[in-house]
Assembly symmetry: C2
Homo-oligomer: 371 residues x 2
């Protein structure tokens, strides 16, 4: 496999935990060309298990990038028109500083000596990336799920850098239920003896079973009850009748097992711990000690907030809360709830009302920006 495209950040970054990091890598991909005015940057923020490979073929999995349906030449985020940048979050496992990288001081992987990171840390690290790339302004920052959390932090922390922001299927505050499902995943990973207290790389092991259970749990939360029913129902997997055993009799079982198994090939278990922790810690009002409207008081960005009716992980009510906060400070805010039965993952899927909305909104702001 080719090396990930990386840049070394030399400026120090003081994390929310108090730990300072410096001389660290950020892995990133770009698509399209930066225009002369440097006014056409679309910064895409990835979700928990996403990475910088938004479009084209993913070099690790060989599959299309996670938003290949939306990002590309002639697509909604048209790489003939925009300069798309997506960077792996710190704590991740696709080349940015994360727990599986080698700690130069010890010559060993960080594992659990890696500092706890936050969504705010991820965004501040990426702002340093843009500094290094000589880019001061972002035309549009966009992302779904944890990507949406980063979008909200961009708007809060760097209002002067953002022309428009599109947080999708997200929240400004992880709920008890969100934390609960993540904690189950973490406990499943830590219960796997191959996790070895986090030191599985040194031991040349992989906590595949634990990570697989974590992925299965999360995956169910990404789909709606209706979509599971429509897609699988009680259909049997290549058999005429139940087998009265513990095989994957049902398609849903077979599907989940496959989701679990294929995930462990591309994702690092410790990264899963760190990134879910960052999401659980996410609570903007606690972080800033202010009401959300005060946090957004100085933004001039156009903000388009999108939620999905069947998303029970980050339900519409949470997007409405963000919308009200932006309205309260007179921000240029649009809010759209898309009717779909596809659940949280709708932002990754072909949902015409969503993609048409996105296309229309981006077209409009591009005109405003004169791109």
């Amino acid at each position: 496999m080719a090396e990930h495209n990386k840049i070394r950040i030399t400026k120090p970054l003081k994390l929310d935990s108090g730990v300072e990091i410096r001389d660290f890598d950020i892995a990133y991909q770009t698509y399209g060309k930066l225009n002369a005015a440097k006014s056409n940057v679309v910064f895409v923020c990835h979700a928990l298990t996403g990475d910088q490979y938004v479009a084209g073929t993913h070099p690790v999995t060989g599959k299309p990038g996670w938003w290949d349906a939306v990002v590309g030449a002639g697509k909604i985020i048209d790489t003939n028109r925009y300069y798309v940048i997506c960077a792996n979050v710190i704590g991740g496992c696709m080349g940015s500083l994360g727990p599986k990288e080698i700690h130069e001081a010890t010559g060993k992987p960080y594992a659990l000596t890696f500092p706890i990171i936050t969504i705010s840390d991820m965004v501040r690290a990426h702002s340093l990336l843009l500094d290094e790339l000589g880019i001061s302004d972002i035309f549009c920052v966009i992302g779904g799920s944890m990507g949406g959390m980063q979008v909200l932090e961009w708007v809060a922390k760097f209002p002067q850098r953002i022309f428009a922001a599109i947080p999708i299927a997200t929240t400004c505050r992880h709920s008890a239920q969100n934390i609960a499902f993540h904690e189950i995943g973490r406990q499943a990973i830590m219960a796997d003896p191959n996790w070895e207290g986090g030191n599985y790389q040194l031991e040349e092991k992989t906590p595949t079973k634990g990570l697989s259970v974590a992925r299965m749990t999360a995956h169910v939360t990404y789909m709606s009850e209706e979509s599971l029913e429509k897609k699988f129902g009680r259909n049997l997997q290549n058999r005429e009748a139940v087998t009265y055993g513990f095989d994957a009799d049902f398609q849903i079982e077979s599907y989940l097992r496959h989701q679990g198994i294929s995930f462990v090939d591309r994702f690092d278990a410790n990264s899963y711990l760190y990134i879910t922790r960052a999401m659980d810690y996410f609570d903007m009002e606690r972080e800033y000690g202010q009401h959300l409207s005060e946090i957004f008081a100085s933004t001039t960005a156009r903000v388009c907030i999108i939620s999905f009716t069947s998303d029970w992980l980050y339900p519409t009510v949470e997007s409405k809360y963000i919308t009200r906060a932006l309205n309260a400070v007179g921000a240029d805010v649009s809010f759209l709830e898309i009717k779909t039965d596809k659940g949280h993952d709708a932002f990754l899927l072909d949902v015409p009302e969503f993609t048409n909305t996105l296309k229309g909104y981006i077209e409009n702001i591009a005109k405003e920006r004169g791109i």
Copy 2:
């Protein structure tokens, strides 16, 4: 610990899998006295992790029985008036025939040589118990969740034995989402090396970590998002601020870990596999090859169906489906959706609208029955 109260069933029982069992134990408890007319039997069906210890102090956990708030002298199911029977399901782990019991032929625990059982098998085994006890008629069969599934099977299979039936927070068909969450639990158990392919008893091990993760997962599905938010929100566990680590910073994490750990002391991992499998296989229309209304065509029982607004495991729509089927055959059916934010577990909790409904309904049918 005292032995469980058991009866030996000598009649053979042919399970749905085709396996025949005979000379097996059913563990059961009774509360109150059978009247002379034998007309005051309330048969309580327990849920996945419940057992026969409905009321009083549980001999294993030392805590109150799982429905102690409802069953007892002067309570809603008044043991001064009714003769309450509750039996451990086959496949269970409180004395009835189950995977942890010793297989007489081999002298070893059944473990995975135990046959797969179904909800129908559980009910037919319990009907043999009533035969042994010389009880032909049940005044009222009642249960929530998997208990409710058994209630529906009682009505379908033994219409002549049932005067009234109260299925609570249940379904006639396990959904893809229901199967998905159970499959996660099973995979978590089987991923635990201490599970030893099911033979942990022989190896003197216990798959505590896997069973704990399974319990945590299930527990989250028993509560509503609102109740988790009200009860825990983002409250921290005995600390002023997050610790930037993987400790249980949040109360919800601490609570779930506790739920997991305390469960493994009272429940058998293989029983968890078998009972969740029985629930996943539950689909009455497939089982009988008939529409639900045809299945219920010959019942004369009064049926009171109760659901809870915030139950997302077995939502109201599933109770409505059962209600419509009973209405279609002119059955004496009542349906009540109780407004509560307590989720699926509401049937175990102090929800006044629910308990008042139950009290009123049971009072009315007792009058009809002349008790």
